[in-house]
């Protein structure tokens, strides 16, 4: 079902003291593709300095900039409208690196064990264990398999903010069973890749007010399917995709380095309506 979404995404970084020589890289310009047509957008960055637009190796639009002068806050605000219709997706190839473990999604023995158990269970459920090998679930398509793994991940985790950070690996998050959307997504990516399903990380927004969100996309027969392990559901037109990568480290929405001894606090507000 198609929708027109208006989005507003505002982030303020507050520094405890003045910082200089601030270099940043933003990936908050939403992906513009047939199923997500960006009708209009503005991105305001303050202080801005000189910036350039580019596209990274994962296809994300990036805005790189540098603010040499002293400042004690940094704000970027994205506003615009998008036309969403998942039936308009066009087939594409999945880059081969989406099939291999990336730094934050390396399988650990626990993850591998969890994966094997999930596969066995699925094989049992599909009534296949009689005549074929117990782990033969090849008749289940990639999307069905990913959905099954998604449910498992959702069940395993207790949604707990503050337990993990941006460097937490899938293995670490899985072991503690606590985390946020990023951790759910990483674990699901790791499991899907173990199953031989190309999978990638998505940073984005969804309808309502709050903070940013992250989910997983899996590739099957030429198309990417969004799957949200935090909510245990497939994504739909209420989701707005900002950027993608093998894992979070490939596509943080904002990354920056600066000179100066300052603590940094971040406030994010997002609002998506249709």
């Amino acid at each position: 079902m198609h929708r027109e979404l208006s989005f507003y995404f505002d982030t303020v970084l507050q520094f405890s003291g003045p910082v200089t020589e601030h270099n940043f890289l933003l990936r908050c310009i939403p992906a513009d593709c047939p199923e997500q047509k960006i009708l209009s957008y503005t991105l305001t960055v303050y202080p801005d300095g000189v910036s350039s637009l580019g596209r990274d190796s994962f296809g994300n639009a990036v805005r790189a900039g540098r603010v040499p002068k002293a400042h004690d806050s940094f704000r970027y605000t994205l506003q615009g409208t998008a036309y969403r219709d998942d039936s308009l997706r066009v087939p594409e190839e999945a880059a081969p690196f989406y099939r291999y473990a990336s730094p934050l999604t390396q399988p650990t023995p626990e993850l591998a064990e969890f994966f094997t158990a999930a596969e066995k269970e699925a094989a049992g459920r599909s009534g296949k264990e009689k005549n074929t090998l117990p782990d033969d679930v090849s008749d289940i398509n990639a999307l069905e398999k990913a959905k099954m793994l998604c449910a498992k991940v959702h069940e395993h985790f207790i949604y707990t903010p503050g337990e993990t950070n941006v460097f937490t690996t899938a293995g670490e998050a899985f072991a503690s069973a606590k985390g946020v959307c990023q951790d759910y997504a990483h674990v699901l990516i790791s499991l899907c890749r173990m199953a031989g399903i190309p999978a990638r990380y998505v940073s984005g927004l969804f309808t309502g007010e709050g903070a940013g969100h992250a989910w997983t996309e899996i590739w099957m027969d030429g198309l990417w399917y969004g799957i949200d392990p935090t909510h245990d559901r497939l994504t739909d037109e209420t989701y707005l995709k900002l950027c993608v990568g093998r894992d979070f480290a490939d596509c943080p929405i904002e990354r920056g380095v600066f000179s100066g001894w300052a603590e940094q606090t971040q406030k994010v507000f997002t609002k998506v309506t249709d």
């Binding site: 890289l25 350039s52 580019g54 190796s57 540098r66 081969p96």
Partner: protein, 436 residues
């Protein structure tokens, strides 16, 4: 030659004064030590060197094709010549470099190819170093000092001059320069190879800079001066890929240049060597280089690889496990002489452990026949002794691909060791290409 040898002490003292040192990390601490120079040169007849030259140019040309292919069409993988997982599981493969085309399509501007000469007189390629191979400055300065101490030696022997390395490096940089100055970008004076960085800058007429001297704005790289900033067109960076740009790679890097990758991606600066080259000098990929040569160039490899087995292939795995006591086993993720194990030196228990590790992670290892390579004479306390030595040849890719008519000969100071890496405590020699 006698006068030259008589000056051993003076030359080593001069080298120490110039700061020809090597930094070694051992057990978590950093030690700087001198890189001992042995004055007896390795001599390679010009006719023999011509064959090496031909083979090295061919090899580096193929490797350059390979890197371009991997980050673009991936034909060699699609055609099944190189198994996909050897590429995408390689720690040197950087997805962040996908689709980037460097200036003039050159990836490995400066390649350091390690060879050994077997007792049978056959040269074997030991490994390719396509990231930031160091070492050219050592024979370069040693030659200068030797000539100063013993000019007559070089009148009597017809040795090809090697002092044009700086000019060769400059030409290599100029060829890919996108408009602006040439810069050698060093992590700083605490780096193991800082002497080399400063010496090469001087020799190539390039500016020596650290990260605080450089910044990126509007996808252009600039060098700060006391007046206006100056644009940089070619950056010979001696900082490894992962620390090069904190906004693209390792975020905690303090020695990188933020957004350097954006300038590089936009084609506004040449980065020498290109980031992502590690995919081609991986020990696992080494096995496939002769296949690359025939795949991309339609030629047969002029120079031989050391006989290598990939436990990844069942047949090779069986051979490796059956013959482990006569093979050398290398962990593909390690470099600098680390992670190299000689089967014959292992206890029975260690050997069984290693076999299990290989069975569990065959992709992680390569196995090679131990090449009985030629000993070279070195002077030790006034006496001549024989030690194992290898040769690092420097191949520069600019408008054409050229081999520097010299090279770094490294020897092991331990009579029982085959490992000659400077990080393992070896010394070095000058390499003479001799006209008959």
């Amino acid at each position: 030659m006698k006068t030259l040898l008589a000056h051993t002490k003076e030359i080593n003292e001069q080298l120490a004064r110039y700061g020809v040192k090597f930094g070694i990390y051992k057990n978590g601490t950093f030690n700087e030590r001198l890189f001992p120079f042995d004055p007896v040169p390795r001599q390679i007849p010009e006719t023999e060197f011509a064959v090496l030259e031909k083979g090295l140019v061919q090899r580096v040309t193929a490797l350059n094709h390979f890197i371009y292919d991997i980050y673009h069409d991936k034909k060699i993988v699609r055609d099944g010549v190189v198994p996909e997982e050897f590429v995408y599981r390689s720690p040197g493969y950087l997805a962040q470099c996908e689709g980037i085309t460097p200036s003039k399509k050159v990836y490995s501007h400066i390649s350091g190819i390690d060879l050994v000469e077997g007792k049978d007189g056959v040269w074997y390629i030991l490994e390719d170093n396509l990231r930031i191979p160091s070492g050219a400055s050592y024979p370069l300065i040693a030659r200068t000092l030797c000539r100063r101490c013993s000019p007559d030696t070089f009148k009597r022997h017809r040795v090809r001059d090697n002092r044009q390395y700086g000019a060769l490096l400059k030409r290599t940089m100029d060829h890919v320069n996108t408009g602006g100055i040439n810069v050698i970008f060093t992590p700083g004076r605490y780096n193991a190879a800082y002497f080399e960085h400063s010496y090469l800058a001087e020799q190539a007429g390039a500016v020596l800079a650290e990260s605080s001297d450089l910044y990126v704005e509007n996808a252009m790289l600039y060098y700060r001066t006391s007046r206006d900033p100056v644009r940089v067109g070619a950056l010979y960076r001696r900082v490894s890929d992962e620390y090069m740009d904190p906004l693209c790679f390792e975020p905690s890097s303090l020695i990188g240049i933020p957004n350097l990758m954006e300038a590089y991606r936009a084609g506004n600066v040449a980065v020498i060597n290109a980031p992502g080259n590690g995919v081609a000098d991986d020990k696992g990929i080494y096995y496939f280089v002769p296949k690359m040569i025939s795949y991309y160039l339609g030629e047969k490899a002029v120079l031989k690889n050391a006989p290598t087995y990939l436990p990844y292939y069942e047949e090779d795995r069986k051979y490796t496990l059956d013959n482990i006591d006569k093979l050398v086993i290398k962990d593909v993720a390690e470099a600098g002489g680390y992670g190299v194990v000689f089967g014959e030196n292992l206890t029975r228990e260690q050997r069984e452990d290693l076999k299990d590790t290989i069975k569990n992670a065959p992709r992680r290892f390569i196995a090679q026949e131990v090449i009985d390579f030629k000993d070279l004479p070195i002077l030790e306390n006034g006496e001549t002794v024989e030690r194992k030595a290898d040769l690092r040849a420097f191949v520069l890719s600019g408008e054409d691909v050229q081999v520097w008519p010299s090279g770094l000969t490294r020897f092991s100071r331990n009579p029982d060791s085959f490992v000659v890496n400077s990080s393992q405590g070896g010394g070095f020699k000058d390499t003479w290409i001799v006209c008959q």
